[in-house]
Amino acid sequence: MNDRPKENHTVNDADKRYALFTQLLVANESQVRWFLRGLLPTWDDVQEVLQTASVVAWSKFDHFEEGTSFGAWLLTIARFEALKYRRGMARSPLVFTDEVWDLVAEEMDDGEYQKERRQHLQACLQKIEPVEREILLKVHQTGVVTKGVAKELGKSEQAFYKFIQRLRRRLRDCMSQAMAMEE
């Protein structure tokens, strides 16, 4: 009859536990995406690994100690899942060697710094011309092919990529400056 308490508690506690889990997941999943983006070649890969990591985290949620850092715990799971995912990927110029992967992972593993940068994103986006801003966001939408956007705008592919690269650089510089001024 050892399984009785498990059965009894599963139904009642599942709601509370799931609510807590989703609350923590919502609060931390962006940080995991930022971390994964530097390790995985595409946004689809990031979403895929985050989804798998979320399912794994939920299945192991009993082992998570409330009060400790859920973000760090989830990052550990995500890093492991990303490693597994990477092993299953075909050889490609987009897949880094083990050595580079580890070096980048170490550098990416600073969620607080990224959170601070994120706070400046909106202000910096507002400093870009509205039309340019919308185009920049458009090419970052899931499922949107950059080449297709270039074609619709009547721009050559190469020129359009350079244009997007310049916008990103302006944003990156703006956010870095804002961070420096805070310090």
């Binding site: 009894n8 985050l50 399912v55 110029p93 987009l94 580079v100 070096l103 939408q141 990103r168």
Partner: protein
């Protein structure tokens, strides 16, 4: 190498257009320079932030209902501002391409919770909503959810089930627990629908099937077409054709076997556990207590607050319907249910069933209720076939027949809904075929013993029929 070259290489990697030679250059830079690594990290995280922002604006559910419960107010405000900006500038883009929705909700009932890929939690799912990938969670035994993908493939979960899904050119479903049925349209070459459970993976080209996922096993029933079932523990696979079933579990051989003929009788076996000894737990709701001395095992009803009627608290107990011989249970015309149990406070009892069309992919709920309150103490209530109607919570009742006769039984539940707890406890549920006497069901060898135990308590149960005044039965 100049800074510009470095940025160009990083951008090429992030855009997925880096060549092998450029990749070697970039990796060399990343190996050699911490500064380049920092640059790379800044651009990668910026890319992630922009994608989150861009996708957040394109998620249709965010704009369908600006309910603060659904997302943080800051996030909502940012999304609205950005959405308005986007609207003016992006009219020339194909909207269907930008939204990222992968499927349409074509049916839903009971308590459900959807967590989108962006972390948005939605409770009041509506038929017709388009949703992107995410996790759907059925949180009561009467929960039911139907998802129609863009190619017409349909997936349903019912009961306490949890399904994560995505479709980025290939449908991927993770059934963490519970029951899934699906009717899958032919899938693109080389991109079968993939379904993962804890213990198995399934590859589906185009077919109709049902999957029940437990912690350690996965049960598959195929109605049409065929499904490749792979046991994850050792990689063993079996192709399961139409009218066959297979169970992926480390405790038994992975073999396909013909689906047995349906039977017309069933009796719960609570002495074997909350789900009658069946490994799967889908459809169970309540608190299970084992036999103790002369006392029978029972399931105690526990509170359930319907989202649509939060002023009510139902006290509900639910049981999955399964037999040790795996035979499907069919409702033969003239069927009836006998519910045995106890009440601490006199109340009306409602009895519900979930049924599924044989060989089809439609399922639905039917409900019967006692017309008068059942007195306190032990009771035995009979619910005849003609007393069942389509459950009022069904959102697509037009798809269901007036009576579920001829359909397969999936789960049963009963509840009371007075203000306080009624103390409803269920000791047994029995489905009888026409002409059967209660206790005749052969699959429960201990039926007579249980009757004896019942009498031993010195309390003859009141025999009630739905629609009868219980006072006249005493």
């Amino acid at each position: 190498m100049s800074n510009t070259d470095c940025h160009r290489l990083i951008a090429a990697w992030l855009d997925g257009r880096i060549t092998e030679e450029e990749s070697a250059q970039l990796q060399q830079l990343l190996r050699d320079s911490v500064e380049v690594r920092r640059e790379f990290v800044q651009y990668a995280s910026l890319d992630s932030m922009l994608r989150e922002q861009a996708d957040g604006e394109a998620t249709p559910l965010l704009f369908a209902s600006p309910d603060p419960v659904r997302m943080g107010s800051m996030k909502w405000a940012a999304a609205v501002v950005a959405f308005v900006l986007l609207l003016g500038c992006l009219v020339f883009f194909d909207k269907s391409e930008t939204r990222g929705a992968v499927a349409l909700i074509s049916g839903a009932s009971g308590r459900l919770r959807w967590t989108g890929n962006e972390g948005v939690v939605v409770h009041d799912l509506a038929v017709g909503d388009e949703i992107s990938g995410g996790t759907i969670d059925g949180i009561s035994p009467d929960s039911w959810f139907e998802l129609t993908f863009r190619d017409g493939s349909v997936a349903r979960i019912s009961g306490n089930s949890m399904l994560t899904f995505s479709d980025k050119g290939q449908k991927k479903l993770h059934l963490k627990s519970g029951f899934l049925s699906a009717n899958v349209q032919p899938q693109p070459a080389g991109k079968p629908m993939l379904i993962y459970t804890h213990s198995a993976s399934l590859e589906v080209i185009g077919t109709t099937f049902e999957v029940q996922a437990g912690v350690a096993s996965t049960e598959l029933n195929v109605s049409n077409g065929e499904v490749l079932l792979t046991r994850l523990s050792d990689g063993e696979s079996v192709v399961v054709p139409a009218d066959h079933r297979a169970v992926a579990s480390s405790e038994r051989e992975l073999l396909k076997e013909r689906v047995p003929e349906a039977v017309y009788r069933w009796k719960s076996q609570l002495e074997l556990g909350p789900s009658g000894g069946h490994r799967q737990k889908g459809g169970f709701y309540g608190e299970w207590f084992p036999a103790k001395g002369a006392s029978l095992p029972f399931v105690k009803a526990i509170p359930l607050v319907p989202r649509k009627n939060p002023s009510y608290t139902l006290y509900l107990a639910g049981l999955p319907v399964s037999r040790p011989d795996h035979k499907p249970v069919l409702l033969k015309e003239g069927w009836r249910f006998v519910l045995r149990g106890r009440l601490k406070v006199s109340d009306k009892i409602y009895f519900g069933i979930r049924v599924k069309q044989p060989g089809g992919d439609i399922s639905g709920k039917f409900l019967a209720q006692m017309q008068a309150k059942v007195p306190t103490g032990n009771f035995e209530a009979v619910f005849e076939a003609e007393e069942f109607g389509i459950d009022p919570s069904e959102r697509s009742p037009e798809r269901l027949p007036k009576s579920p006769g001829g359909w397969l039984l999936h789960s049963v539940w009963c509840f009371t809904h007075k203000e306080g707890a009624s103390g409803l406890e269920v000791t047994e549920v029995e489905l009888l075929a026409p002409g059967d006497q209660p206790g005749a069901e052969p699959n429960a060898g201990s039926g007579r013993a249980r009757e004896t135990a019942f009498v031993k308590q010195g309390q003859q149960p009141a025999l009630l029929k739905a629609g009868q005044d219980p006072a006249r039965n005493q």
